[in-house]
Amino acid sequence: MITTFFNHELKSFWRSKNTGKSVAIKVVMGVLILILLLYVLAFGVFLDIILKKMFPAENLTVTFCGIILVYFLSDLLMRMQLQELPTLKVQPYLHLPVKRNSVVGYLALTSLLSFFNLWPIILFGPFILKVIVSAAGGGVAAVFMIAIIALAIFNNYLALYIKRKANLNGWIFLMAGGILALITCGDYLWHLYSFKSLSYLFFGNLILKPYLVALPLILAAGMFYINFYYLKGNLYLEELSSKKEAAKSSTEIPFLGRFGQVGDLVANEVKLILRNKRPRSALIMGLFFMFYGLIFYTNPKMGEGFKVFVGMFMTGIFIINYGQFMFSWQASHFDGILVSKVKFTDFLKAKYLLFTIVSTVAFILTTPYVYFGWRTVLIHFVMYLWNLGINTTIVLYFANRNYKRIDLSKGASFNWEGVGASQLLLSFPLILLPYLIYLPFKFLGYTDAGLAVLAVTGVVFIITRDFWIKKLEGDFYNKRYQIAEGFRNK
């Protein structure tokens, strides 16, 4: 039975919309995943060299044994945030004469098909082959590998168990997060104990007493069964689903009221962003980008050219990150928009207004970078104008060419839904255009003039916005059937 399930699972993967229909997208996706895997693999292969650089005084094996548990602690944190529950997929089987044990077993096993379970193997595998085999022999290396896989499985089920519990009671997630934070603080802040030495205590002894491998195996098996029995006892749709019901209330955004119908449209879109998982994560990701400058500005090697780039990203991340999927966000009710009395001009004006509001907030948030000099804030402001003038228009131009539906309720991580050629094409003008203008001036030694031209271009586009809206509207009327049809395609 479970083989049938796996067969269905494979089909659902290859036939899902996320995977993308066209071969081109599959190839691009495959290449991207491969690159990511290669990066991790390269990290794994050079782990011995990296560790030697970081801890030159210590023995390599000792350091390695020390970091394993530390890794799994952070792994658990990552999983709790990013790993998705393999849940509602069992719905079509629940009413059929299929044994509960096989349904639950299938649910439990498919959760192993996660990238998170691959990382530790790729990361630590090469080191074990390179160092442990030569230092302690093949048997010990195998035991190491088994212990690491077992710990990954333990983490996998522990994270899922916490997430499932948290579905029924949101406090559990906070509690689990708090406990993890306490454990971390206990080591790194209060120095009550050391994860490194704990890790070494176990893995160091593992070299001498290989039978200790039973410990992680027991942990993994125990966690699996806790999960298994929990699932079996709670095999009801509402408890499996990842949504918790709370009373929803109507809200108003009075500030937007003054913009009339355009304001109403913006208010709707703000609600779209805040009430749906994927656009919300796009927004939150944008907040993290506010720290982007800290990476670059603290490095004295990075010149002013980087500030142009970083400034554009920080003040315009929302335009880029959220705008690249326009109008797919509204795919589920696009028909309703088309037949309603909304004028497309207003629809576009609402997008501009939304971008303006969020970018303004982003610009204000980046003002503390004045620490790196007033000129930094000035560059940010220039790029803020550039974003409002040019990037908004570019993004909306490509929005007219985006026919992919997005399911708002799905999370953002590893979600390829709605990704197509238009996002890729969009990135070229976004990244290249400011440099096309700025760099020639810079090489001639007139950086101020370069910035001024960027600012003036931005302002000119803002002033002539009505003209661009007209252009975009005309373009939209040619493409709207195609857009609406693409959005209807579930």
Binding site: A247, T251, Q261, D264, N268, D335, R488
Partner: protein, 246 residues
């Protein structure tokens, strides 16, 4: 009100809608029937300018709907959940729709008070987003939003499919009232022959994209339609019934 000329839609080489000429007059109540795949929804979508016809045109009040905006101000429609903004609460959505037609909150509230019976206390102030409502209740929101717009043309695609019997009854009364007392032109599709013959004065029967029957509703319309849909085995028993009745 609506005039269709040489309208044709082709998907993958198959003709799904082919209507050479169709005239729908002001104040008529049209019932659209036909089996799955007959082209009812596609026809609706072309009238609403949601899909591009291969050829032909749809005129609304003499104006081509394609690319036009004026028809939107007097046409209200609900085809499926894709017409609802599902992350809003019903109130937010209804205020939004009302706002598009220049109605303030008080005016919307007043109109909604008139729909209280239709909503049956399941829509307003329930603390749910539209996406969390059942299909039947989503349909109520959609129909409610249509009525809020005080349209001259009302188009509903299978509105009876998901709603409960009481609501079906109420919806029928609303449709009759809109048509008879407010002069609203209604176009309603349904698989329930009893409902359409009850509500509509004129029935269009579609098969494979073609309007094969165009009949004014009379006492015999229901049996005529049942005969068509009864495909084969039921026709014989049906004729017997007919004889017994007379």
């Amino acid at each position: 009100m609506i005039e269709i000329k040489n309208l044709k839609k082709v998907y993958n080489g198959a003709i799904v809608v082919n209507v050479p000429a169709l005239q729908i007059n002001n104040g008529e109540s049209i019932g659209l029937v036909g089996n799955n795949g007959a082209g009812k929804t596609t026809l609706f979508r072309m009238i609403l300018d949601l899909i591009r016809p291969e050829s032909g045109e749809v005129l609304s009040k003499g104006e081509n709907v394609a690319g036009g905006e004026s028809w939107k101000s007097y046409t209200a429609s609900y085809l499926d959940e894709g017409f609802l903004i599902d992350y809003l609460t019903p109130e937010e959505y209804l205020y939004f729709i009302g706002g598009l037609h220049g109605q303030n909150k008080a005016q919307v509230d007043e109109k909604l008070a008139g729909l209280a019976e239709f909503f049956n206390g399941e829509i307003i102030k329930k603390g749910k987003y539209i996406r969390d409502l059942s299909k039947g209740n989503q349909c109520k929101v959609g129909v409610g939003a249509c009525l809020l717009q005080q349209p001259e043309l009302l188009m509903l695609d299978e509105p009876f499919a998901n709603i409960d019997p009481s609501t079906q009854f109420r919806l029928k009364n609303i449709l009759k009232d809109q048509n008879k007392n407010h002069g609203v032109t209604t176009i309603v599709s349904s698989h329930d022959l009893n409902h359409v013959t009850d509500v509509c004065d004129r029935i269009l029967l579609m098969e494979k994209g073609v309007v094969i029957k165009d009949i004014a509703t009379s006492s015999s319309t229901l049996s005529e339609l049942e005969e068509y849909f009864g495909v084969g085995q039921n026709t014989s028993t049906f004729t017997v019934d007919k004889e017994e009745k007379h």
